[in-house]
Symmetry: D2
Subunit: 403 residues, 4 copies
Amino acid sequence: MLPLHSHPSGRHFLQIPGPTNVPDRVLRAIDHPTIDHRGPEFGELGKAVLAGMKKIFQTEADVIIYPASGTGAWEAALVNTMSPGNKVLMAETGHFATLWKRMAERLGLQVEFQAGDWRHGADPEQIRKRLAADDGREIKAVCVVHNETATGVISDVAAVRKAIDAAGHPALLMVDTISSLGSIDYRHDEWGADVTVAGSQKGMMLPPGLSFNAVSAKALEASKTAALPRSYWDWKEMLAINPRGYFPYTPATNLLYGLYEALEMLLGEGLENVFARHRRHGEATRRAVRAWGLEILCQKPEEYSPALTAVLMPEGHSADAFRKTVLTHYDMSLGQGLSKLADKVFRIGHLGDFNDLTLCGTLSGVEMGLKQAGVPHNAGGVQAALDYLAQTSRPRPDQAQAR
Amino acid sequence: MLPLHSHPSGRHFLQIPGPTNVPDRVLRAIDHPTIDHRGPEFGELGKAVLAGMKKIFQTEADVIIYPASGTGAWEAALVNTMSPGNKVLMAETGHFATLWKRMAERLGLQVEFQAGDWRHGADPEQIRKRLAADDGREIKAVCVVHNETATGVISDVAAVRKAIDAAGHPALLMVDTISSLGSIDYRHDEWGADVTVAGSQKGMMLPPGLSFNAVSAKALEASKTAALPRSYWDWKEMLAINPRGYFPYTPATNLLYGLYEALEMLLGEGLENVFARHRRHGEATRRAVRAWGLEILCQKPEEYSPALTAVLMPEGHSADAFRKTVLTHYDMSLGQGLSKLADKVFRIGHLGDFNDLTLCGTLSGVEMGLKQAGVPHNAGGVQAALDYLAQTSRPRPDQAQAR
Amino acid sequence: MLPLHSHPSGRHFLQIPGPTNVPDRVLRAIDHPTIDHRGPEFGELGKAVLAGMKKIFQTEADVIIYPASGTGAWEAALVNTMSPGNKVLMAETGHFATLWKRMAERLGLQVEFQAGDWRHGADPEQIRKRLAADDGREIKAVCVVHNETATGVISDVAAVRKAIDAAGHPALLMVDTISSLGSIDYRHDEWGADVTVAGSQKGMMLPPGLSFNAVSAKALEASKTAALPRSYWDWKEMLAINPRGYFPYTPATNLLYGLYEALEMLLGEGLENVFARHRRHGEATRRAVRAWGLEILCQKPEEYSPALTAVLMPEGHSADAFRKTVLTHYDMSLGQGLSKLADKVFRIGHLGDFNDLTLCGTLSGVEMGLKQAGVPHNAGGVQAALDYLAQTSRPRPDQAQAR
Amino acid sequence: MLPLHSHPSGRHFLQIPGPTNVPDRVLRAIDHPTIDHRGPEFGELGKAVLAGMKKIFQTEADVIIYPASGTGAWEAALVNTMSPGNKVLMAETGHFATLWKRMAERLGLQVEFQAGDWRHGADPEQIRKRLAADDGREIKAVCVVHNETATGVISDVAAVRKAIDAAGHPALLMVDTISSLGSIDYRHDEWGADVTVAGSQKGMMLPPGLSFNAVSAKALEASKTAALPRSYWDWKEMLAINPRGYFPYTPATNLLYGLYEALEMLLGEGLENVFARHRRHGEATRRAVRAWGLEILCQKPEEYSPALTAVLMPEGHSADAFRKTVLTHYDMSLGQGLSKLADKVFRIGHLGDFNDLTLCGTLSGVEMGLKQAGVPHNAGGVQAALDYLAQTSRPRPDQAQAR
């Protein structure tokens, strides 16, 4: 019997910043019998999900779908565009930026890592300066994480693009949107990204196992001369066969069923509505955190993440002990602090398939857990969230229509 | 495409007092291919669910499973034990007691209905008096609803039994546990019930479509002479073939898969733990209601239902308008007021597969809805529930074990 | 763990004449979360399935959906239209006709049972004669089984109607289509049925647990004076609330999801195509049986059932031993002989969600089982079926379209 | 609505040599809610599936599970053990051997490809000779495909190992078991493989999206100095965290649920029984092919694949037109001929979750398709298979037990 069958009464609250709660519609879609990935029905499916993903990336450019998790799509972005020893400029926004940097190094790239305090987004001005100083045009790419999952801090991707342009520098712009795509407004074309990296298990509301690259014409051009060895991740074979809805090797068919359904849901709700929903839930969460008297890790309001909120524990208190209390008493999973934030922060995920009452349950679990775990705080966080949510509530669009 | 596919982002809160939120394990079990109901595997299944249901009813007596909803099991109780024109004594505890009464009349029985105000349980003393006065022993059965789903009021079944015995009266005791079984302590044998009626879609955590009778030896004896015409509901054929795990006509195989799984869950958690969980959630709900300054319909604390709470709307305010606001704004279904309580109360279901954070989300939806709908109330209901829940929280048994 | 988890490698062949193999689409639909059966989404669902069922019954009249198995819909047909002691004329076509008769008697009706040899359908001429002789118009209803599941024999319902009319008799015509509806052409209106009885688990491709009445205006009129006690089965309350998509008591919500999907499938394929498919599979099956040198139970070609074929075992051989061999060796369930046919026939179901290759697998299992069990027969039955199927094959409509 | 919803009546026969028909138990397992991949329940799941996979590989060595398709596990085998410019010896057994070769070249390796006619397995003697002549020990690895999915030909892996040892050569032995593992006997330890590559969607009965490496101590040692850049595929980080049941980056959680269930099924049936089942189905298939008078692609009986059979079309007939006829008329997918076999062969998959009657349906579809498509052949192939299957049938172990 599956270990997950040990789940106790009631539904688990999975409020880590991904994987997120997968909607029933998506789970049921994944449960359909696997079909021949070379047959006519598959071709229809393939074309539909590729077209849908372009809408999600807000792009007319090519989108690649890998049977792999997000980490694979990071690797794909690098090996398709870079040659051994190439220099890339990365912004240290947190743990995931650091992991991407480490990956780049392991793949044989030279990384210049613009130091950060893990409480701010990438600094466009600093990037501009560095690129302006790069007379030899040695820097081949600038890599930023749109929504740093470890910190709940957003980087201004459009501003980074402007910084690159202001420096008149030819570097590619690569963006990790693993924990933002589908929950936070992201515009591959308008913001001038060259490679955008994404995964299935966050805003896309799927289980993990699919990941994505959106690829600009410039990135595609770069791939022609990029010399890093590659095969599984190679864009070329994908793009050759994708237009007919097929893939060069066996795709993760059942997860693609789920993707089809998730696209129906996101595009049916309307991307603007989806983004507004998460912005509102982010604000409600922060109001709760402030009412508790706790500190939000992100320091600039314009960089607050609509997808998750990282909260600093008061000095002398263990975030992990608190999280364990919440799991043990309230059957809710919260995100842990990672590497240098380990045991110092906990993270509340409010991305993906999510609504007001689930947020209220989530914040209730945090507030009760703080009490249970003896963490100094003021009561009233949930109340603050309720006040804000009630003030800003609108009838659900589908219900408003129905009447 | 199924209309339910219109569900918006996030999970619907189904907080009516049944059907309840069906656990994922149960839904997946129901999704298995239908098997031959005359084959060897079915026999194992049949025996297992019949044995499991005895544990749920806390009985050694026979249990009957019908492919029907709870209303059918009401009918079964009557047609198996009564003859045309028989007199039955029923207690008017609310809408469902009234429906059962109407059914008895339509089946040709004479019903004496002990009037009630829909805010109290059945009155054992009144029953004792009436039976004592029944010199001709014309009353063939006393019928009470254990948990009146329309009002959130419990009747003391053991006390009713004692009343019957005190009167030295041979009437059968029939009990409707449709909204209590599996959520509220109920003891068919110890409390001396003769026929207990139950359904699948409340505490048993299944979709609707199965219903149950637990049948004492005395009731079985009565069925031998009972002259109401019956066929589908007839106990005799069921009991003849049930010991081998089969049914006289086609059973609802896939719902029985779900029942198997639900039994695993309830018995795995332990009935005592299940009952304590619901008592605690009932108390938390009532603390919220009192903090809002609203009135609980049930008037005697010892009769508070652990399964649902009915709340009176302040004079001049529409409960249905409020419920519609909650559905439209917060995607939560609350129970409506029924017949003479229509538009005057709303009902919060806290039975079935349920946990602390789902309750917090539920109460948050009520509190925000009250605000949205302009219903006079004090803020702080959710806070009151949080305080109580945190105070009384224990680690989940499965988690405590795991560490 | 569910006993059904013991299924060995590969998919079980469920070739009893119902329950039938439930399509994956239907199982997945049933697996969706239960919704409020008083909420707006349910109303849409209810209206859709009621409208769809009219198309299946080929009627403009009212259709009733019960949370019950087919046996319940038999009872509903009788208790809504008859009064105690009423006389009904039934045709003994086989085991199920006999069960229906027994039910009628237990409900207090007088049954005149026109004897049959279980190898023929109802005899319209005999019915006409009996009705013509019924000067007092004592016979209130004529009851026939459209497709006798125990024998694989069809009764000519239109001819029975003509016989009643020819006798100028006012009796109602009640028809059991439990194992025909959705697989064999059946026309409630055109053929002049008054009450048609059906179930979910055969041609409708659902698990058991739903059943149906289609009700003519004349039957409805009769129900106004019919005096058999009834409540659960009462048409009146159903018809009062059905137009808004709701039901008077809790419906089997999740099975209704499945019904919605099954209707999409059957109406999508087109009823004419569905019926032709089963006729062709019936013919292929009979060719196999003849090639084996075995005898088909049904004796008149115009009464062959497109839904199932009952096959007589050679004298001195046990049909049940044979069926057990098939189950044990080839993981296929075949239908048993019932009551007086016990151990003498086996039944091959070819109704419901079914296609050519599944039929070939089925017939292969029979042929190998005959060999294994030492039943005298000629090889070549499968070959005969293959020849016929190949000769009569057409491209699947959906595929023909796609090209 | 998912394009796969267009499936016509009855179940599709997916008889390509993978992806295979996914058992219902596995699909339902995958449909469970995604859990926190850093939480305690996941750790239990992770440990269970890693331990189970060792049994499947028949190894005590380390097993790696990737969220990727089989192609990724090929890449993993190479990048973890090789350095740029390394020489590998590969055996040209067919299309997949050729694809693996092409991948090795694209990753910067030098491949020596021992030519083959696509109708035989790898030649151990030829390998021995080549290695014996490799005085400089330049060849770092020998790569063979255990079961060439494109041809239905098995290579004798144990003999290849002996050939390497006979030459006293230190080359690693890498084996692709993508279409054999879980269906054909394979022994990583006993046969002395260093890296074994596998995928989820064939004998493992899962949808595509997981792949595997089994890694000998010698291969692990080689990975320490292997210089090909790698990150996603890197064994080191996997092995560091796997013992606690976790993965260095997000795993494909829901597919792992399916893997858990598939392991329960395969190990429950017993690997020896699984292998015998497929050997028997392979033989039955070949008897059918011979009876049709068609030619089996594989030329040596000892190299016949128990997982699939590739069949040569008679000269002048298009295998693809035939396959299209089968799909259009009989709703069965057969495998196509690949690259130089395109349009010349079709492939019948008989691996994975499969039983006698499904095989009979499959062969029936082929025989009827041959007729329909006007391909010259003798009737009687299905009959030949039936004869063999009936002769060699044993009661199913679970059923034999049950009685």
